[in-house]
């Protein structure tokens, strides 16, 4: 087994909030990420899926060390991430980068895109101005941008081109890890495919490692080697992408997978009732039990741990190996 590039060990992140009612609301703790562990090996892609508000993006920021975890540890190439804002932390940025959901928002609209792509080199003091320019041209070519785009402003480019600019800026320092936070959800469907193919192509050529955050299961299935499904700040199921999508074990995963539109084959849809509960007020026991069609008395009182299954997957459900559910699927 290869060594993990990134490893998260029981990371938690909580925010102090007030419940509704303004000044009179009581103080409460919002568990955005409540004990998440995962590892990504070099050159692999971990897909992180879940509903909006389940802590996906927070997990991504924690993984990059952009916000400190309330507890737990994140290891990058075997060593814990340095303190935020320190020189070591700044230097670390070279080796791990982020691609954002909204490419226009993450670019400075007053600067031409060329200098923005070359900016990481200036920040990390790499090369002479002429070399930086050459490297910017080379990186732009590798993400499918032309030389004349160098002098354009972000608002003059199309959505797909902007996302390519963001990618080029992330790639110019030759990072090992890229966290993609919903990189395609702001793009047109026709461009989504282009960007996904570009990401896969870059992984092949440069041996990149991705943490791919998305709520689009089709895309996650296409790009990921492994998938982790999150619900209310916890991972409820994780495993190899193909196996997980073919036979989801957790009821929540099953509902998600059955919601993927497909051609031809007629499948049973598992439709969940209700909304995800308020993350400030997480239900006792299994957080999913109020919406789970298979919930039993034990689910209400006891939170299930993430247990490894015989096939290498891990599921957090009391009834994961129950035949009754398997039959119902």
């Amino acid at each position: 087994m290869s060594s993990p590039l990134l490893e998260a060990i029981d990371i938690r992140r909580q925010y102090n909030v007030r419940t509704a009612g303004g000044v009179f609301g009581r103080k409460a703790v919002l568990q955005a990420v409540a004990g998440v562990s995962f590892r990504i090996d070099m050159g692999r892609t971990l897909g992180l899926v879940g509903e909006s508000g389940c802590g996906k993006s927070t997990t991504g920021k924690l993984a990059l060390g952009l916000i400190p975890p309330s507890s737990g540890e994140i290891r990058f190439v075997g060593s814990t991430l340095p303190a935020i804002g320190s020189a070591a932390w700044r230097d670390m940025r070279r080796r791990m980068q982020m691609v954002y959901q909204d490419p226009l928002g993450s670019l400075d609209r007053r600067l031409q895109v060329g200098p923005q792509i070359a900016e990481p080199l200036i920040i990390h003091d790499i090369g002479t101005p002429a070399e930086r320019r050459e490297r910017a041209y080379a990186t732009m070519a590798s993400v499918g941008l032309q030389k004349h785009h160098f002098e354009r402003y972000p608002h003059e480019l199309s959505g797909g081109q902007r996302q390519r600019v963001v990618l080029a800026r992330a790639l110019i320092t030759e990072p090992k890890l890229i966290v993609c936070d919903e990189p395609i959800s702001a793009l047109d469907v026709s461009i989504q495919a282009q960007v996904v193919n570009l990401l896969l192509d870059l992984q092949d050529r440069l041996g990149l490692t991705y943490l791919f955050i998305s709520h689009d299961l089709k895309v996650v299935r296409q790009v990921s080697h492994d998938v982790a499904v999150m619900y209310l700040g916890r991972i409820v199921e994780t495993g190899q992408a193909e196996a997980l999508f073919r036979a989801p074990a957790h009821p929540y995963t099953r509902a998600l997978v059955s919601a993927i539109p497909s051609l031809g084959e007629k499948r049973e849809r598992l439709i969940l009732s209700g909304d995800p509960p308020n993350p400030v007020d997480v239900p006792a026991g299994c957080a999913f039990h109020p919406r789970c069609p298979f919930a039993i008395a034990r689910c209400r009182s006891e939170a299930p741990a993430l247990r490894r299954q015989p096939d290498g997957r891990a599921v957090a459900c009391h009834r994961a190996d129950d035949d009754a559910i398997a039959l119902a699927a």
Partner: protein, 298 residues
């Protein structure tokens, strides 16, 4: 591609005079040109006050007291007439323009720098520092500035330096608020967060990315406070607490001309006209400048 080629192949016909004029009018609106010309005139006047003024601004000519300006049938000796002591209004106006512009320019500069720096500090450090800055902002915003100015001048006496610094404290809280708000937004999501994530130091983030992006808002604010400071200076001088005689400023002239408003209105009208024109020109030019500085509006 073919469409572009055919367009490039035919040489463009020389634009007609009418079209060129229209294009020039769109690029340089007449109001902006007039405003710019007026401000350039003001700056030249302020810079060359000693050479431009026909008389020293304190020179009295008691035989020619309250003489009528040219427009109302006077002579060329005093084109804008004289005041109650026989001092030439034109000469006094020229040195008043210098004084008022000096005060307003440095006052605005001090207010803008102070406010922007405090806003950045608040947004960068959050926590305690932000609370202190916000409290100072609220304090400043809730106190009528005229009263603060009056008490400071009453306690510390009056010197030009002190007066300019005092003007610099006027409306700094507006810049601080704008800067803090926009910086927080930029830091939370978007370009500033992205650059920070690239490993940039705070100096680079604030100086190279956030400041240019919020500059248009700050410039508009400056064009609002610049006239306000001129008016505030006029008000304080009118009350006798601003620029002290024998020095003169626009407000000072209006204040002392008030007593002769029925018999010799020109003493007051000349500086009033300059105040109105200058403040208006700055607002116009600031508005136009904001649009021009924004590459996304080009």
């Amino acid at each position: 591609m073919t469409v572009q080629d055919s367009v490039a192949a035919t040489p463009p016909a020389p634009p007609s005079f009418l079209r060129r004029t229209r294009r020039a009018l769109v690029a340089w609106p007449p109001v902006v040109v007039i405003s710019a010309a007026w401000l350039i005139l003001m700056v030249i006047t302020a810079a060359g006050a000693e050479w431009l003024a026909p008389y020293p601004f304190t020179a009295m000519d008691l035989k020619a007291r309250l003489s009528v300006p040219l427009l109302m049938g006077g002579d060329f000796a005093h084109p804008l007439g004289t005041d109650e002591l026989g001092r030439d209004v034109l000469s006094r106006l020229i040195s008043s323009i210098r004084m008022s512009l000096l005060i307003a320019f440095f006052g605005t500069l001090i207010a803008a720098s102070l406010g922007t720096v405090l806003g950045f500090l608040a947004a960068h450090f959050r926590g305690r520092i932000e609370q202190v800055v916000l409290m100072a902002i609220d304090f400043q915003a809730s106190m009528p500035f005229m009263i603060i100015a009056l008490s400071v001048l009453a306690f510390f006496g009056n010197s030009l330096i002190l007066f300019i610094c005092l003007m610099g404290f006027h409306s700094w809280e507006r810049y601080a608020r704008i800067t803090r708000g926009l910086t927080l937004a930029a830091n939370e999501q978007g370009y500033a967060a992205a650059v920070r994530q690239l490993g940039a130091k705070p100096g680079r983030i604030y100086g190279l990315h956030i400041l240019p992006n919020i500059a248009s808002t700050l410039i508009v604010s400056m064009t609002l406070t610049f006239p306000e400071i001129i008016l505030l200076e006029s008000g304080l001088s009118f009350l006798g607490l601003g620029v002290q005689p024998p020095l003169t400023s626009l407000g000072n002239m209006v204040g002392y001309g008030r007593e002769y408003i029925t018999r010799a209105p020109w003493i007051m009208l000349a500086p009033s006209f300059v105040i109105v024109m200058t403040t208006l020109s700055i607002s116009m030019l600031g508005d136009w400048l904001r649009d021009r500085l924004d590459p996304t509006l080009r």
